[in-house]
């Protein structure tokens, strides 16, 4: 017989106690691990959603003369700019190392024109990308599908008394109004949106764009890195990170992080208490047992070895079940929580490792203190407890 035989027999023959210990460990590890996976995935999801809510990177031509004031675009200067960006060059953005982090690229060509004596801003856009990046747009009518359809801002609609399906002559070409955008409180209210290639042809600016708004996913990559790589790839452009947007996003994600850390800590604490009570439900029996071990001449570390072996085996079993359990639970819950259907949740092999470490530490924290107390006690006293 070896010391571990004692541990094994204790686990095997005190079935109820063992089951209780394993079950409480299982519940603890399961809840902590599940919460960690969920909050991690949700952080990623929130982060991505926020990243795609408007641009966090702006690409403009390199110029000293003209200062584009984004969000409150200066109309006068745009018209006279000559050194616009090239759409072809912009496409190089897909060649940067972190290209998979580039989620949306929305190029724009702004041209100022006059219709019926009113100054108007024409924005040539890629509608698909534009709609994705301007998630706050409320469109009445339809998104333009064919070349002669346009989308108008609310102020344009009011000033010119326009309705959906009306036609509008721009640069001697007839366009139909597919829809209008409800008030945004931005420059968009004063703009007419048409397809980018049509704008380029209409105003004889082939391949030109004024700027591009980019939404980069920066959950696992700092935005500075993406900006740096993009500047490298687009030598003619000025690439700027929109600090304000990024800060707001970081704050939101961080407060969620703090929240999940808080919840995890509370669950950890409850877990330790639960396992503690499972481990110490028969503390007197354990004390007596330790008294016997001492009486037959076992030293402290030998007794600790017996009990730790017991705890470790139970922890392993609990961690194994908890890993499998958390895998299934997160797969069931995540699609509901994140509305993302394409979350590919492969089994992450770090999960069982974390689970085992967690399980053993919870069990050790709950188990070591009473063991220590029992070992400090004179054996005669330990034996009398019952």
């Amino acid at each position: 017989m070896k010391l571990y035989n004692i541990s094994l027999n204790s686990l095997k023959r005190k079935k109820t106690k063992t089951a209780l210990l394993i079950f409480s460990l299982f519940l603890s590890v399961l809840s902590v691990i599940t919460l960690l996976i969920l909050s991690n995935e949700m952080q990623k999801n929130i982060s991505h959603n926020l990243d795609e809510y408007g641009a966090n990177i702006l690409i403009t031509p390199k110029t000293d003369e003209i200062q584009y004031s984004y969000g409150n675009l200066n109309l006068g200067s745009v018209t006279y700019t000559s050194n616009n960006l090239s759409l072809k060059e912009l496409k190089n953005i897909s060649k940067i190392n972190h290209s998979k982090n580039i989620s949306i690229v929305a190029p724009k060509l702004y041209v100022q024109t006059v219709i019926d004596g009113n100054s108007l801003m024409i924005a040539g856009v890629d509608f698909k990308q534009e709609i994705r990046i301007k998630k706050w747009w409320k469109i009445n009518g339809q998104i333009p599908g064919v070349d002669d359809q346009i989308l108008i801002g609310i102020s344009v609609k009011k000033k010119n008394n326009l309705e959906i399906n009306d036609s509008l002559l721009i640069n001697e070409k007839k366009f139909h109004i597919a829809g209008f955008i409800e008030s945004t409180g931005s420059q968009d209210d004063n703009s007419v949106f048409m397809s980018l290639p049509v704008t380029q042809t209409l105003f004889d600016k082939p391949d030109e764009i004024t700027l591009a708004e980019v939404a980069a996913l920066c959950y696992d990559c700092p935005i500075e890195e993406i900006v740096y790589q993009t500047s490298d790839m687009l030598p003619g452009a000025k690439v700027t990170a929109l600090k304000q947007t990024i800060e707001a996003k970081t704050t939101a994600v961080n407060s969620f992080k703090k929240f999940s850390v808080g919840v995890s800590s509370v669950i950890m604490l409850i877990s330790v208490l639960m396992v503690f009570s499972a481990l110490n439900s028969s503390i007197n029996e354990r004390l007596k047992e330790i008294g016997v071990f001492r009486a037959v001449g076992m030293r402290g570390f030998e007794i600790v070895k017996i009990i730790l072996t017991e705890i470790t085996i139970a922890s392993f079993v609990a961690a194994l079940f908890a890993s499998i359990g958390s895998f299934w639970i997160t797969r069931l819950i995540l699609p509901i929580l994140t509305d993302a259907k394409d979350i590919a949740l492969a089994f992450d092999y770090s999960i069982p490792v974390v689970a085992i470490l967690l399980s053993i530490s919870i069990a050790a924290i709950s188990g070591i203190i009473p063991i220590y107390r029992a070992i400090k006690l004179d054996p005669a006293m330990a034996l009398r407890t019952l």
């Binding site: 017989m1 009486a295 037959v296 001449g297 070992i375």
Partner: protein, 222 residues
Amino acid sequence: MSFIEINNLSKKYYNGSQTVNAMVDVNISITDREYLAVTGPSGSGKSTFLSLLGGLNKPTNGSVLIDDINMFELTTNQIASLRREYIGFVFQSFYLINYLTVSENVLLPLAIAGKSQKEQFEMLEKILEKVGIVDKKNRLADELSGGEQQRVAIARALINEPLIILADEPTGNLDSKTGNKILDLFETLNSEGKTIIVVTHDDKVRERTRRVLEFSDGKLIN
């Protein structure tokens, strides 16, 4: 030469506001190979005396020297090692581990002694034979009668052939035939060179020993 030297040994128990003088200033020399009986009325301190000798309890005062080693100057772990090497302890209430079988209980002192499986098995068979419990060796300690449990406790104390055997009422639960068998065993062990100290109420046990220590209210009166 004295093998066990006990000087001014005192033990007080504190029960709340009450103080129990379980052992009062006891001095004895016990030589190698002695066979001693310890008697006295219930509550006179016999078990306390034995647990102090075995280092299971710390005295309030005084010292116990075993083979010139002052036991209470040692650390707890050193006392445990000393106990493992020198002392086999038979408890008044057996203290078997109830989730272990008879064999496993008896083997406990060997689990830490680094003996091979084969050696362990041979020593086990020998001692189970001697206390007459071979047929029960795979039973859980829980499932035994009081007398059987007592014999398991004796086997556990004797298996690693300690030089000193401290036995608290070892025949208390045994019929006279089995009791005699145990006493024969003790006698043989004593003649083989072991020092044996037996707490007993039984005149038959006392008669077979060579010296009697009598306690009354924690004092040695004879």
